[in-house]
């Protein structure tokens, strides 16, 4: 992990700073679901490289406050996130993990020059959001984007466990 961020730092230093002045905004909608037993979904948002490896984790929402860390038990239900990254992390992760969120729109914004985007090399990436709900379903949305590139307003519409997911890149 350390090595790879080091690698991408080198070209970053070689380029003029303005190329990295982009910010990223993410909006995740948790839809209202009529269920006899409703639990807030576990949600992970991350940035993938073309080869499906994880470039950066943006958010992991789970039951962080359960005693004895029992909330981690269901992290593996976000299957692709678990496989790509979660199983090699030690939870909670500072600045990435947080409590589950209620139904509604949740805006997150990330500065290009600080964690978790600092060191993201210019290129094509995919933003992935995966949601899994206890006694419910699972859904994953992928939105390709360019970093830092031009201004981009992108979105994907979930069908079951996710509502609309919006990504804005602001150079």
């Amino acid at each position: 992990m350390k090595l790879s961020s080091f690698k991408v730092l080198i070209p970053a230093l070689a380029l003029p700073m303005p190329a990295f002045a982009a910010d990223l905004e993410l909006n995740i909608e948790i839809p209202r679901i009529n269920a006899a037993e409703y639990h807030r979904p576990y949600v992970a948002a991350w940035i993938e490289k073309a080869d499906n490896t994880v470039a950066s984790n943006l958010a992991v929402w789970y039951d962080v406050d359960m005693k004895n860390g029992e909330g981690t038990k269901w992290l593996k239900d976000m299957r692709q996130w678990w496989r790509r990254s979660g199983r090699s992390l030690s939870m909670p992760v500072d600045g990435v993990s947080g409590a589950t969120r209620p139904v509604g729109q949740h805006a997150l914004s990330f500065k290009g020059n600080s964690k978790p985007l600092a060191g993201l090399a210019p290129g094509n990436y995919t933003l992935v959001v995966e949601a899994a709900r206890e006694v419910g379903g699972r859904e994953m949305l992928s939105i390709p984007f360019q970093w830092p590139g031009k201004a981009q307003n992108l979105s994907a519409q979930g069908k079951t466990e996710l509502g609309k997911v919006k990504v804005t890149v602001k150079p």
């Binding site: 981690t72 038990k73 269901w74 593996k76 692709q80 678990w82 496989r83 199983r87 090699s88």
Partner: protein
């Protein structure tokens, strides 16, 4: 008496694994991917026609071996054998991959005594004492069969998957707890620690009760003992292969029957 009968049933199953009408032995894990240490796994162990339903005999648990990621042996908990299945729990105290295995080593013989056909089953060490004096037409063979499954907490690891160099064993190229629908996985099969070319492998998806065909996948290992399978869908899969040779440990046994079974869980994309 009952235990002996069950053991006999299991041995018979291993002995005839590979035949078209064979019963299938299996260890089915409740799940294979865990995110926290201290989780519990429960496993069903049975022999049946259908996957994975309890409709024939349980697998006896005497030969159960559970290996932790660090290579140490783990004791099963709450073990019980019923009419149709055995069941046991495993506490997953470590990070990494556990191997749950049933290792069956045995010998069986047919002979005639006073014109009557008889059969004997047991360990190779009991063979001499087990066949009565005056027995004729003694025909003995050895068998070595493994039934395995795997479960992982956190990152998959290979410490528990070390091979012993005896009989048929599986070497992961793709880790057995990292399998996904629509993707290919490859494994290597060894016989006595050496790559086993030309082994026929049969893979059957579970839930056979809810479809008309077995949907077997037939594969053959290459010169390096490797084979590759593309998982058509998510679910539990049963894999079986068998072989025969003359590499017996006892001179009285003319042939050795080897078999290997594994149960894998393939997850949706």
């Amino acid at each position: 008496m009952k235990l002996k009968l069950l053991a006999a049933a299991a041995v018979a199953t291993f002995a005839f694994a590979g035949a078209a009408q064979a019963h299938k032995a299996w260890l089915q894990p409740s799940q294979t991917v865990f995110s926290s240490k201290g989780a519990w796994l429960t496993v069903d162990a049975a022999v049946s026609n259908d996957l994975f339903y309890f409709n024939h005999v349980p697998l006896p648990l005497e030969r159960l071996q559970i290996t932790a990621p660090d290579g140490s042996a783990v004791q099963p908990q709450n073990a019980s054998t019923g009419k149709l299945r055995s069941v046991f729990d495993v506490e997953l105290a470590q990070e990494g991959t556990y191997k749950i295995a049933m290792n069956n080593e045995g010998m069986f013989a047919s002979y005639k005594l006073g014109g009557e056909a008889k059969r004997w089953r047991g360990k190779a060490s009991e063979f001499k004492a087990g066949i009565p004096a005056g027995a004729t037409e003694v025909n003995a063979s050895e068998s070595l069969g493994r039934v395995e499954t795997f479960a992982t907490v956190g990152q998959p690891s290979n410490g528990a998957l070390k091979t012993t160099g005896k009989g048929i064993e599986l070497v992961p190229v793709t880790h057995p707890n990292d399998l996904f629908a629509g993707e290919s996985a490859s494994f290597q099969l060894l016989i006595d620690g050496k790559p086993a070319p030309g082994l026929k492998v049969e893979i059957v998806p579970g839930a056979t009760r809810y479809r008309d065909q077995q949907n077997e996948i037939h594969l053959t290992t290459g010169a390096d003992g490797k084979f590759e399978v593309k998982w058509p869908a998510a679910g539990m899969y049963w894999l079986e292969t068998a072989s025969e040779d003359a590499k017996t440990t006892l001179a009285e046994a003319k042939q050795r029957r080897l078999s290997y079974v594994a149960v894998f869980e393939v997850l949706p994309q």
